[in-house]
């Protein structure tokens, strides 16, 4: 390191350099590890370094997040008695077949099942995943709204959208897509 500085000084002495192009020499400390901020996370915004300063070349170590505390997730069990319904591409309109299926589901919900139901909206892989998150929710809400008109209390029904993240069929053809554009009905415990 010292040798390097010496050489640097020697080079400086050479007359060929413009004043503005003079050798710069500096010590850059390795960046400190970012202190663990208390939640909510504070943005550690370091001051912008002065003009010719070089970034430290040693990266900070990205530490793996500590294994997160196991959260109690809502237990969702699929109920085979409640039939899935299906949609056309980029649509959340209920077909007559879907309405008939929902009528059957409503009857089960009113006569045989007492628990709460989560309606899961799903999409096929062709749409964008971002847009599909919103579309899946519209599909779930379409079913919920119809079930409510059939007399199922709204407080028994909730929705979640999985967009295209949980396909029922991993295939990449129309058969698979048709199976994936769906609502599923799950009992929440």
């Amino acid at each position: 390191m010292r040798k390097g500085m010496l050489r640097c000084v020697m080079v400086l002495c050479c007359g060929v350099i413009f004043a503005s192009g003079c050798a710069k020499e500096e010590m850059v400390k390795k960046e400190e590890p970012v202190a663990a901020p208390a939640a909510p996370v504070q943005a550690p915004k370091p001051a912008q370094p002065a003009a010719p300063r070089e970034e430290a070349v040693t990266p900070q170590t990205v530490k793996e997040a500590p294994a997160s505390i196991k959260e109690e997730t809502v237990q969702v069990a699929p109920v085979s008695a409640l039939e899935k319904i299906y949609f056309d591409f980029d649509s959340f309109t209920l077909s007559q077949v879907s309405r008939d299926t929902l009528a059957k589901n409503a009857e089960i919900l009113l006569k045989k099942l007492s628990g709460k139901i989560q309606v899961e909206g799903h999409c096929d892989e062709r749409g964008s995943d971002e847009y599909n998150l919103a579309l899946g929710e519209k599909r779930a809400k379409a079913a919920v709204n119809y079930l409510v008109t059939l007399g199922v209390p709204a407080e028994r029904l909730s929705v979640i959208s999985y967009g295209k993240e949980k396909p029922a069929d991993e295939g990449h053809d129309e058969t698979a897509w048709a199976k994936n554009r769906r609502d599923e009905f799950a009992i929440i415990k």
């Binding site: 500085m5 500096e26 070349v57 500590p66 997160s68 959208s161």
Partner: protein, 427 residues
């Protein structure tokens, strides 16, 4: 233990007079002629030869400079000898003879776990040095060190530093679940960030590069999380009933735009970094998602199907002045505003997806990709490159390309399907 890193800028002289506002390239290679760039084999400065390190350095420079744009990286290098890398220690003749305009010379010293890398960029025609840097660090930081000189080359030749020391955050399904990962922009040094076994989506870097926000189903609902990358600390900042998705940091880093459905259906909102709602920007029965800030923070591009099919719209950051941006194609999504503000990149569904770019006034609509299906375009922080996910035959992987669509190259090498890349600010 604190290690002191010494970086010595040995020389930084410009060989020719360049007036303010003009870069070396504009003076040297007018008319966008690509400069022939040669990468000399890295040599040991002291101590023994390390062929592994030498090969890695040379390959890295070749990869960075090939993507860079202004250069055509020469396939072969002249047999220039055992010669030195400093001015006067070698002859330019063989390089001149081979047709090189620019030459990268580098030398390394490995001492225990410490690596010293000295890099020099030469203008072969004039026989002058354009940049010289010596970096010291851990041997394990070899790639970061070398990318730093690539960024420097861009600074010297174009007047703007390169983004090659940046990282790419992305989502990978290599464990079977969509988890968050981080890698060098060129696919090396992959590190896993999340480990929750759930679905994790849409990472976005804070302007400081120190944090990411992302949507996760890990507590059941698609909620928004803000995570400090280095400590791993995180907070759930938006957990409203329904979706909390497609979040994007404002350019000043103080606000976050996102889509939430808490008021009935998916609308665009602005929240603070603590999750407090600051504004609701859209209000209609259609789907509104994927907000993307203009670099001055005054406008937001977003996706809406209010006219039937998803299209890209632009509005002021207070929700006023909504106008349709994309008028061609039946299904346009995922807009992202370039850091310089001049282009908006987005995806169009036509069979699969293709990436397009358009001017903010709706003119200059240009298709950038055509092979396979391409999604999730994001700009490099300097706006000269775009990272995206692509499915070309096999699994989905992360690619990078120049802003005009040229130079497309796969960078992720994982075993799973890799999507949702986001290019960090300088690391």
């Amino acid at each position: 233990m604190k290690k002191i890193i010494c970086i010595v800028a040995l020389l930084a002289i410009l060989p020719i007079t360049i007036s303010a506002g003009q870069s070396y390239l504009e003076v040297t290679a007018p008319g966008n002629r690509q400069l022939q760039l040669a990468v000399a084999n890295p040599v040991p400065l002291s101590g023994g030869e390390n062929t592994g390190i030498a090969r890695d350095i040379a390959e890295l420079f070749r990869f960075d400079m090939t993507l860079a744009g202004p250069f055509s990286v020469m396939a072969t290098t002249p047999t220039d000898s055992k010669s030195g890398i400093r001015p006067g220690d070698f002859s330019f003749d063989s390089w001149k003879g081979a047709g090189a305009d620019l030459l990268i010379k580098s030398g390394y010293t490995v001492s225990g776990t410490t690596l010293t890398l000295e890099c020099r960029l030469y203008d072969v025609t004039r026989g002058q040095e354009l940049a010289a840097k010596r970096y010291s660090g851990s041997v394990t930081d070899l790639r970061r060190i070398a990318h730093t000189f690539s960024d420097e080359i861009m600074q010297v030749t174009t007047g703007e530093r390169g983004p090659f020391t940046g990282k790419i955050a992305f989502v990978s399904k290599q464990t079977g679940n969509k988890e968050l990962y981080l890698m060098d922009y060129d696919g090396y040094n992959v590190q896993r960030l999340s480990r929750n076994g759930s679905i994790n989506l849409n990472p976005d870097f804070s302007p400081s590069g120190k944090e990411i926000i992302y949507t996760s189903y890990k507590k059941g609902n698609p909620d928004l999380y803000r995570r400090d990358i280095f400590s791993g600390k995180e907070a759930r900042i938006s957990a409203h009933r329904g979706i909390n998705v497609t979040a994007s940091y404002s350019p000043d880093g103080n606000r976050i735009a996102l889509a939430m459905s808490k008021d009935g259906n998916s609308e665009i909102y602005i929240i603070g970094k603590d999750g407090k709602q600051l504004a609701r920007l859209t209000n209609n029965s259609a789907i509104d998602v994927s907000p993307a800030w203009s670099p001055d923070g005054r406008q937001i591009a977003f996706v809406s199907d209010r006219l039937g099919k998803p299209q890209v719209f632009v509005m002021n950051a207070d929700g006023s002045g909504v106008r349709r941006l994309t008028t061609s194609g039946a299904y346009n999504v995922s807009p992202r505003w370039s850091p310089k503000g001049d282009r908006i990149v987005y995806c169009r569904q036509q069979g699969g997806f293709q990436i397009f770019a358009i001017n903010p006034d709706g003119s200059g609509d240009t298709q950038l990709t055509s092979q396979g299906s391409n999604e999730h375009p994001r700009w490099s922080p300097d706006g000269r490159y775009i990272t995206f996910s692509s499915q070309r035959g096999g699994r989905e992987a992360i690619y990078v390309m120049r802003a005009d669509g040229s130079g497309q190259v796969m960078v992720s090498r994982g075993k799973g399907s890799d999507t949702h890349p986001a290019w960090s600010p300088r690391w």
